[in-house]
């Protein structure tokens, strides 16, 4: 339990970010919902359309809604210019505000529709103007219901805000995502406890305000509001200011990325830079983040860029691929491909050693023959990737079943027998630790996945930064990387990415 306590104590700045994001989204949602509800009270058409829209938004999974704002904002750059942020606070705010819209709007519209018609007639009869009627009658009588809607929206927003981690907005989702990837359950639990507590607290305070409005007890309204505002002020006050010189290092959502981000960060701190990490970015998001300058440094993989960014479907030798990527990044995005780190994190097909031996499987050719009796497990994106299509077509795979797992649970699936063969990663420490065998690829159908360093365009001429990073190029062996990955992923004697990065630096004689 003490691990959880330590993790909780380290979440102060994530909590502050989470509070500010949730409150801003709730405020924006309310600002949009209330006028819409007033309009809806005067037009059945507006009422129907706005409620249908809000309900439609609600059916989109929060994770997808957040992710959708990235391409949406990207296309809006045509209107607002390249200064428009596509990652981080803005898309998270917009998506969560939309999410908060429905409960507030629905409650406000329902409250207005259920007002006693006699009271509304009386408001007209005594000579109220439209504005006086709204202010003196409709608003105070609807307020408790509207507040109940805001309360529901607050709980939803605080929950959904944990997902904003995936689009580069720090939140209490950071420890949850990081913990899930590295199987650090204390971290996951701490993130969950913190966001659940925040939701319960917000619910109680807003509930007090709601009860105060309903029972016409002003002290309840004031106490609830004052405490909520106090919480916001504290969150604002505790936010660290991010000066312009801070280097932001992005990481995708798996252990290797967390470790490499720390390795880079530690070097830069020694060189006198101040550093922040933006962990758990979606794989598609991270490239856009570095090319647009939302983050300063990322580690990506040649095969990923080749298919996703250069949109190439052919398979060329590793050296040629790297040269081409370097040229393409420089010419189209202005991003610097500083060099390779020295190891590959390629897709590879892995099985338990004993099972492979029993079935007599050594290569993908052998696997193709046994496939109709086997279940293949892949990570969430694998079966959607062109590599899978390429390798499947090259060898004529025809598996009995195809299942997807998060990358961490994929290995457990192999151990537990839920999958016979998985799409493993060559730099993964669990290949050795779990006694797995990687099947040969005699047709070279799987492309190269050299890890490489990308530096945002604004640092293309930053000699101090580039020279601080240069020593990393070509120095990290696949063995060292596997060891570091395993130190973070294993269940016993687990290291934090920070510790694993220090050990990796020491082992490689960096610094």
């Amino acid at each position: 339990m003490s691990d959880v306590w330590i993790a909780l104590l380290g979440l102060g700045d994530k909590l502050a970010e989470h509070v500010i994001l949730s409150a801003a989204a709730l405020a924006l949602g309310t600002i949009i919902a209330l006028p819409l509800a007033i309009w809806a009270g005067r037009s059945a058409m507006v009422s129907r359309l706005s409620l249908s829209f809000a309900s439609l938004v609600q059916t989109i999974p929060a994770l997808a809604l957040l992710a959708l704002f990235f391409p949406m904002l990207l296309s809006l750059r045509a209107v607002f210019g390249d200064g428009l942020p596509t990652l981080g606070f803005l898309p998270a705010l917009l998506a969560l505000s939309l999410y908060a819209l429905l409960p507030i709007l629905r409650n406000a519209v329902t409250a207005r529709a259920n007002l006693d018609p006699g009271v509304l007639d009386a408001a007209d009869g005594v000579g109220m103007t439209g504005w006086q009627k709204l202010r003196l009658v409709e608003a105070p009588l609807s307020a408790p219901f509207v507040m109940a809607g805001i309360r529901t929206a607050a709980v939803w927003t605080i929950g959904a805000a944990t997902l904003s981690t995936t689009i580069g907005q720090p939140s209490l989702g950071d420890p949850i995502f990081a913990g899930l990837q590295t199987q650090n359950w204390a971290l996951v639990l701490a993130g969950c406890i913190m966001s659940a507590s925040l939701a319960v607290l917000a619910d109680s305070l807003l509930g007090l305000v709601e009860k105060g409005l309903r029972d016409r007890r002003k002290w309840m309204v004031w106490t609830g509001s004052a405490l909520a505002v106090l919480g916001l002020v504290v969150a604002f006050a505790s936010q660290q200011s991010e000066d312009d010189d801070t280097i932001i290092i992005g990481a995708k959502n798996f252990s290797e990325q967390y470790i490499l981000a720390r390795l880079i960060g530690q070097r830069l701190e020694h060189a006198g830079f101040s550093v922040r990490y933006r962990d758990g970015l979606g794989s598609a998001v991270v490239h856009e983040a570095v090319t647009s300058g939302a983050i300063d440094i990322s580690v990506d993989y040649s095969g990923t860029l080749w298919t996703n960014q250069l949109k190439r479907e052919d398979n060329v030798p590793a050296e040629e691929m790297l040269t081409e990527i370097k040229r393409w990044e420089r010419e189209t995005t202005g991003t610097v491909m500083l060099g390779v780190l020295g190891f590959e994190n390629a897709y590879a097909f892995a099985m338990k050693q004993d099972r492979a031996k029993r079935l007599g499987l050594q290569s993908l050719d052998d696997l193709a023959r046994a496939a109709p009796q086997l279940t293949i497990g892949g990570d969430i994106e694998f079966f959607e990737r062109p590599e899978w299509t390429a390798v499947r077509d090259a060898y004529g795979f025809n598996f009995a079943r195809q299942r997807t797992f998060t990358s961490t649970f994929m290995y457990d699936a192999l151990t537990g027998g839920e999958a016979d063969v998985i799409s493993a990663y060559t730099s993964d420490g669990r290949i050795a630790a779990d006694k797995l065998v990687v099947l040969d690829d005699p047709k070279n159908a799987l492309p190269a996945y050299d890890a490489l360093l990308l530096i945002a365009p604004q640092h293309a001429e930053n000699a101090r930064l580039l020279s601080a990073l240069q020593p990393l190029v070509g120095e990290i062996t696949v063995g060292a990387m596997r060891e570091a990955n395993f130190a973070v992923d294993r269940l016993d004697g687990k290291q934090t990415p920070q510790q694993a990065a220090e050990a990796l630096a020491a082992k490689l004689g960096l610094d």
Binding site: D116, V119, A122, G125, V126, G127, L136, L141
Partner: protein
């Protein structure tokens, strides 16, 4: 008023139709200052619609409605309504305001400041104790609520009171008491009152002029005595027959 001969309220060929249905059809009518007019008719005869065209809760399709010589359509609705007392069956007390706040709402809207003395005078007028002032509407009985409703309507010192089935939801005893109280206020404050009711007995006992409506038209315009004497036509007489027969039946039962 500038011209003492002019009526306080005037309808000139007023019609209100909703799509295919004509609710009020070509009504022409003068209401003299100080009169207590009852507007009687079956449900759907158009009596409420006619009343609501005075304070513009309903807008006429054609024709002219004049209050104290002014076309009501030429006035802003809220300004017009502040000059007219309006009491209706639904009462419509504001549930989040105290009795005192409800009564003072009209002067407050007009920009006047709270006047506790005035509220207490108005409570007194409707025969409610001063201790009602801080209470909320849900603590009152139906009759008490409508008394507050009447006080609220009187707060802005209107010349004209419009009453739409004001006692419709009340029990007979309360109804009778409140009817007499309203008539007494009408005389004391020199009001002009137009009251819609479907109860001919109430109309005959309280009003000094009874108008009968049928299918949107004004079919009778008599003083109570003439109606009881058989004037006003079939529709009016059918309405008068109800209380008259009840009275006879009751007389027969009396030992």
């Amino acid at each position: 008023m500038n011209d003492p001969a002019a009526p306080l309220l005037r309808f000139d060929v007023v019609t209100k139709s909703y799509d295919a249905v004509t609710a009020v059809s070509e009504v022409t009518l003068d209401v003299a200052e100080g009169s207590f007019v009852a507007l009687v008719g079956a449900s759907g005869s158009g009596k409420s619609t006619l009343l609501k065209m005075v304070n513009r809760l309903v807008e006429p399709s054609s024709g002219l409605v004049e209050l104290e010589g002014e076309d009501v359509l030429a006035l802003a609705p809220h300004a017009l309504r502040r000059r007219i007392g309006y009491v209706f069956q639904g009462i419509g007390l504001f549930p989040h305001m105290t009795v005192a706040e409800n009564i003072a709402i009209g002067p407050r809207l007009a920009g006047g400041h709270d006047n506790a003395g005035r509220v207490s005078d108005l409570l007194d007028l409707v025969e409610l104790d001063e201790s009602f002032a801080p209470r909320l509407p849900h603590e009152l009985s139906g009759g008490q609520k409508q008394r507050v409703g009447v006080a609220r309507a009187l707060a802005a010192e209107p010349h004209l009171m419009l009453m739409d089935e004001p006692f419709g939801a009340l029990d007979p005893v309360t109804r009778d008491a409140l009817g007499h109280a309203v008539r007494a206020l009408h005389d004391r404050l020199k009001l002009t009152t137009v009251m819609v009711t479907h109860d001919m007995a109430e109309a005959l006992l309280l009003a000094d002029r009874v108008l009968v409506m049928d299918e949107g038209r004004l079919v009778a315009d008599e003083v109570p005595k003439s109606l009881l004497g058989g004037a006003g036509g079939d529709v009016a007489q059918a309405l008068v027959a109800v209380p008259r027969d009840q009275a006879k039946a009751l007389a027969g039962l009396t030992p």
